[in-house]
Subunit: 197 residues, 2 copies
């Protein structure tokens, strides 16, 4: 497309990133080339740095630069609460909310017969181990309201039932959400979990 | 967001690229970190390579790695036709179409009173010079059907009127385009340029 092989390769690499496609990759690469000293070189250097230092926390699966992430290393977060999330993006979303003060366990996906993802691929055995070793009193399942997310929640519930309190995030209308834009499942869930005001 | 400064900086850099935002930048960076040897390091290396070699063609403004790009260097493309485009992305879009066999002139934007972009910023003097030096017989204005694009087309027309044949791309319904999705301006333009079948 650009008649230059390196530039084409760079565009193809960018186009494979989640959220980008061929068109946005072309625009991003042209933007970076137009400002190569100011943008392209610093971006490449920061990528090299992150590639050299980023790693998974051996306890929870969060991404950081230490063997044990800041959250797992903070004594004040050992409050007996363990929040189970599908991936690191969800962990970061919970942290942005700022409402949760316990620790996390990143599954690394959801059970999926279709994609042949079983419990071993998901760090579920490690989750069961943490309940004892970290004196967890409550496990909060913050999994997606999808079929795979709910299948995974049920499987985890079976594994740890009776050993700790087990909860999940409330389902309902998002703050600022207009009913008109919500799917029927969310509306029924919000209705059956209705509260007195 | 990630509690790690380098990773946060990388996400912020990615979030500023056209077509990305904070959420897609986070997902892209997590995806790259998860496959750092396979994706993050090769992407960083390709960016370094492109940063070191990419340059603007001194004749037309296309991006490549030589002082004069492949299109300008190809003798068979010196057919007297010169296609004027706003930016390199548009030049590449024309090339993907494969219908144009002449040369290009990249303006680098459109005239804009609001953004204080005048003719000197747009390589319009260079365009006027090329008409004589390259024995151009027809200039095709392939500018966007926006107010700024059309203002720029009028300005260029004033500069070169009477010296060469001057044409512009036809306006109308895109192939596969459904009328229902087109804006009114496109429909009126297509109607007034209607042809016998
Ligand atoms: Zn951790
Ligand atoms: Zn050129």
């Amino acid at each position: 497309m650009s008649s230059n092989r390196d530039i084409d390769t760079l565009i193809q690499m960018m186009a494979k990133l989640p959220g980008l496609g061929p068109r946005s990759a072309r625009r991003a690469v042209l933007h970076l080339i137009a400002k190569r000293e100011l943008k392209l070189t610093p971006l490449a250097e920061m990528m090299q740095r992150v590639a050299a230092t980023a790693r998974e926390c051996t306890v929870c699966g969060n991404i950081g630069t230490a063997e044990i992430c800041d959250i797992c290393a903070a004594p004040k977060r050992a409050n007996g609460l363990l929040c189970v999330v599908e991936d690191v993006a969800d962990l970061w979303a919970m942290e942005r909310g700022g409402a949760f003060q316990g620790r996390y366990h990143v599954l690394g996906g959801t059970l999926s017969a279709l994609d042949q993802v079983g419990p071993e691929q998901l760090r579920i055995p490690a989750l069961v181990g943490r309940i004892d070793s970290e004196q967890i009193s409550e496990v909060i399942l913050a999994l997606g309201a999808t079929i795979d997310g709910q299948t995974t929640a049920h499987y985890i519930a079976d594994q740890i039932e009776g050993r700790v309190r087990l909860t999940s995030l409330a389902q309902g209308v998002p703050i600022g959400g207009e009913l008109d834009y919500l799917d029927d499942g969310t509306i029924s869930a919000a209705l059956s979990a209705r509260r007195d005001i």
